[in-house]
C-alpha cells in the first residue's frame, strides 16, 4: 500500500517494501497491546499519534529541521549527554530498537549469541529499516558492554560512529576521564553543528531536559497510587517516546496527561481495581516496540507501577544541578549527574541494588520482575545480586530472560502468572 511518506523514505534510502512490513507489524502489535485497553487516558491520544507517525511526521520534522541547518545526533545509551547536543542547537534521538525484523541480516555480521537490542539496531541499519538512523548527522556509540562496544566497530562500516569512552568504575580518575570525554564530545558536537555552546545555551538546555525528567518523575509519583490510574504499558510507552519526540512538546503534553492523572487519583479512578497486584520491572531497557513482557504481566492480572531501567527511572531519577553560573560549572554538574547512572556495566554497582530495594519499598510492590535480554551478561550477572537484595528486604523476585521473539510467550505467561499467584 502506498504511503504519503514514501518519497521521503525513498530519499532516505529505506527498503520500502520491508519498511512497509515493519509498519504493518508495528501497527498490529500496537492495536493488540495498546488500543485494546479499557479506560485509557485522553492524554494518550498524543502518544498514539506520535507512535503512528514515528516514522512519518516525526521524520518529516527532522528533515525540515535539517533543511533549515539543524543537525541530528543519534544515540544508543542514556550516558550520552543530551544537554550538549541541545545547547549546540542539535536534536538528539534514541536509536535503540526493540523489533526482531532485521535479525536475519544482523546475524550475517554478528554472532548469534548477541543480545536482541544490539542485533536489532544493526539489523535495522543493514535491512534499511530505520529512518532515524538514516536522518542522523552524527551517530554516537559508547564503551559500555562488550557487545555494544564491538558492535559499533561493525556498525561503523556502514555509518560512521563517534564513540565516547564511558568509565567502568566510579573513582576520582574515572570522573576525570568522563570529564575529558564530555569535553571531547562537546567539541565534536560543536563541529558537527557548527555552533558554539555558550553558558546561556547550556543553561537553557539543562533546564529544558530537567523539566522533561521532572514531568516523568511526576508521572511516576502519580502512577504509584492505588488504584493505579495508568497502565504500566502506557507509562513505558511514554518513557519510550521521550527518546524520539521534541522535548518541549513532549514535556507539555505529558504535563497535561499528568493533570488528567491527578484528577483520576483524586477521584480514586483506576484502570484496574484497587488492590490489584502491584509489580515493578527492573533490568535491561525495553525499546519500542518491545512490549512483550509488560503485556504478559498486565494481561495476567497485575499492574506495573515502575520500571527500574534506562527506559524508566535510570534515565529520569537524577537531575543536573541548575546552580552553575559559568560554562565550566555547568559542565561539572553534567559530569556529576551522569556519573550517578547505575548501569550494570559498572563495577562495583551497589547503588543499583539500593535503588531497586528503595524503589520497591516506596512503590509498595508485591514483587519485582527482573528482565534480562538473553546474552546480556552485565544484567544477567546482577540479577543474582538483585534477587538477594530484594529477598533480604522481603520482596520476592522473578528472573526472566528472553528476547524479542514471540515463541516463549506461553511459557512466560505461566511463569508470570505463577509468580503473581505466589505473591498474593
Amino acid at each position: 500500500m502506498p504511503n504519503i511518506h514514501d518519497a521521503m523514505w525513498e530519499k532516505l534510502n529505506l527498503d520500502l517494501e520491508a519498511h512497509a512490513g515493519l509498519l504493518e507489524v508495528l501497527g498490529k502489535f500496537y492495536g493488540d497491546i495498546y488500543m485494546s485497553q479499557q479506560g485509557r487516558l485522553k492524554g494518550m491520544e498524543y502518544l498514539d499519534f506520535v507512535l503512528s507517525e514515528v516514522h512519518g511526521l516525526r521524520i518529516k520534522e527532522l528533515q525540515d529541521a535539517k533543511a533549515s541547518g539543524k543537525k541530528v545526533v543519534g544515540t544508543f545509551c542514556v550516558f550520552v549527554p543530551e544537554e550538549i547536543v541541545l545547547a549546540a542547537g542539535g536534536i538528539q534521538v534514541g536509536l535503540c530498537a526493540g523489533a526482531e525484523i532485521g535479525k536475519g541480516e544482523a546475524e550475517k555480521v554478528l554472532p548469534r549469541n548477541t543480545c536482541a537490542l544490539i542485533k536489532s539496531f544493526v539489523g535495522f541499519k543493514l535491512a534499511k529499516l530505520c529512518p532515524f538512523i538514516e536522518s542522523c548527522d552524527l551517530i554516537v556509540g559508547e564503551t559500555t558492554c562488550d557487545g555494544k562496544k564491538k558492535a559499533y566497530e561493525i556498525f561503523s562500516e556502514y555509518s560512521p560512529v563517534y564513540v565516547m569512552e564511558i568509565p567502568q568504575m566510579k573513582n576520582a580518575s574515572d570522573r576525570q576521564l568522563w570529564k575529558s570525554e564530555l569535553l571531547r564530545f562537546k567539541s565534536q558536537v560543536e563541529e558537527t553543528t557548527g555552533n558554539k555552546i555558550t553558558a546561556d545555551s547550556l543553561k537553557d538546555a539543562i533546564h529544558l531536559l530537567n523539566n522533561r525528567r521532572r514531568v516523568l518523575q511526576r508521572l511516576n509519583r502519580l502512577r504509584a497510587a492505588d488504584p493505579g490510574p495508568i497502565s504500566g504499558r502506557d507509562a513505558l510507552l511514554i518513557n519510550q517516546i521521550s527518546f524520539y519526540d521534541d522535548p518541549v512538546r513532549f514535556t507539555t503534553k505529558i504535563g497535561e496527561l499528568c493533570d488528567e492523572l491527578d484528577e483520576r487519583v483524586k477521584s480514586g479512578t483506576g484502570i484496574a481495581p484497587e488492590g490489584t497486584t502491584r509489580l515493578m520491572l527492573s533490568g535491561c531497557p525495553m525499546a519500542v516496540p518491545n512490549w512483550k513482557l509488560p503485556y504478559v504481566i498486565e494481561s495476567s492480572g497485575a499492574i506495573i507501577v515502575g520500571e527500574e531501567s534506562c527506559i524508566g527511572t535510570r534515565n529520569t531519577r537524577d537531575l543536573v544541578d541548575e546552580g552553575g553560573r559559568t560554562l565550566d560549572d555547568m559542565l561539572d554538574s553534567i559530569v556529576d549527574r551522569y556519573m550517578r547512572i547505575d548501569c550494570a556495566c559498572f563495577t562495583p554497582n551497589t547503588e543499583r541494588l539500593d535503588n531497586i530495594v528503595n524503589m520497591a519499598l516506596d512503590l509498595n510492590v508485591k514483587g519485582v520482575i527482573h528482565y534480562g535480554l538473553s546474552f546480556c551478561q552485565p544484567y544477567a550477572m546482577e540479577a543474582f545480586k538483585v534477587e538477594k537484595a530484594l529477598t533480604g528486604a522481603g520482596i520476592p523476585m522473578l528472573s526472566i530472560e528472553t528476547d524479542y521473539s514471540m515463541e516463549d510467550v506461553e511459557q512466560l505467561k505461566t511463569r508470570v502468572e505463577a509468580f503473581i499467584e505466589m505473591t498474593r
Binding site: E410, E417, A418, M422
Partner: protein, 259 residues
C-alpha cells in the same frame, strides 16, 4: 463463599501438551479421576472427559487452561497455573511436602514450599524439551523399547556411561554411535536416564531442596528416574499413587478451598 450441598462437586482439569487429567471431588473426597491423551483436538478431548458432569465449579490448569476457560464459558470455570496446582495437589496428598518436582510431557517444574505450604520459589525448564518426558519418549522409541518399561530396562544396565548431550537430537546421535561401538542398549538407556536426572538435579538445587520431596508427573512412573534421583539427592523421594493426577487434583482442591 456460596454454601455447597453435600453432593455438589468440584472438578479440576489439567490440560497438558501430552495428556489431560480430570479429578472430581465431592464432600467425601475423590469421586472420579480420568486421563486421556491431548491429541490434536484438546477441546474435544476435554468435552469427552467432562462427559455428563453438570454444574459445579471447574478449575482448569495446565497449558490449555485459558483455551478451556474460553470454550467452557457456560460453566463456572476459573484457572490457576500448573505451579500452584502441583503445589496444592502435592500438599494435599503429603501435607509435610517442602519440595515438589514435576516432570511432565514437555516441561519440568520445581517448586519450593514454605512450612505452611505456600509457594516461595519455582523454576521451569526453558523452551526446549530436553530433560522432559518427551526426551525419554523419543529415546525409548530410538532404542525400540516401550516407554512404560523403559525405566526397568535401564535398571538392567551393568555399567554406567555418561551421555553428555542433553539436546534430544544430539543425544540420539550419541546413543547411535554408542550402539555402533557395541555398547549394550540397557547401558545406553541408563546413560540417557542419568542425563535427564542430572539436569533435574541442577534445577532442584537452584530452588534449594528441602525434604521431603514429592515427585509428580508422568515421568514419576519411571523407576529408574526415581532411583537415580534418590541416589543423587541422598534422600528418598515420595511418589504419589497417581503421580500424573496431582495437577488436576490440586486444581480441584483449589476450587474446594477457594483461593
Amino acid at each position: 463463599m456460596k454454601s455447597r450441598s453435600k453432593d455438589q462437586t468440584v472438578a479440576g482439569i489439567d490440560i497438558g501438551s501430552r495428556s489431560i487429567e480430570l479429578v472430581v471431588l465431592n464432600a467425601d473426597g475423590i469421586l472420579r479421576q480420568l486421563k486421556t491423551p491431548t491429541t490434536f483436538d484438546p477441546l474435544g478431548q476435554c468435552r469427552r472427559l467432562m462427559g455428563e458432569l453438570e454444574g459445579g465449579r471447574v478449575i482448569a490448569t495446565g497449558y490449555g487452561r485459558k483455551l478451556f476457560a474460553e470454550s467452557f464459558g457456560q460453566m463456572d470455570v476459573s484457572t490457576i497455573t500448573e505451579i500452584q496446582a502441583y503445589a496444592l495437589g502435592a500438599r494435599f496428598l503429603h501435607p509435610e511436602a517442602r519440595t515438589v518436582l514435576d516432570i511432565g510431557g514437555q516441561d519440568t517444574k520445581v517448586i519450593s514450599l514454605s512450612e505452611t505450604g505456600k509457594v516461595f520459589k519455582f523454576e521451569m525448564n526453558d523452551r526446549c524439551a530436553a530433560g522432559t518426558g518427551k526426551f525419554l519418549e523419543f529415546m525409548a522409541t530410538a532404542l525400540q523399547v516401550p516407554l512404560e518399561s523403559f525405566g526397568e530396562y535401564a535398571l538392567r544396565s551393568d555399567r554406567r556411561i555418561a551421555i553428555s548431550s542433553m539436546c534430544t537430537v544430539f543425544a540420539e546421535s550419541e546413543a547411535t554411535s554408542l550402539m555402533a561401538r557395541g555398547e549394550r542398549p540397557e547401558n545406553i538407556a541408563m546413560g540417557l536416564h542419568m542425563a535427564i536426572v542430572q539436569r533435574t538435579i541442577a534445577m532442584l538445587r537452584r530452588v534449594g531442596v528441602s525434604a521431603p520431596v514429592v515427585f509428580a508427573g508422568g515421568v514419576a512412573h519411571n523407576p529408574c528416574v526415581v532411583r537415580l534421583l534418590e541416589e543423587q539427592l541422598g534422600q528418598p523421594v515420595i511418589v504419589p499413587g497417581n503421580p500424573d493426577m496431582v495437577g488436576a487434583l490440586g486444581a480441584a482442591i483449589c476450587g474446594k478451598n477457594g483461593f
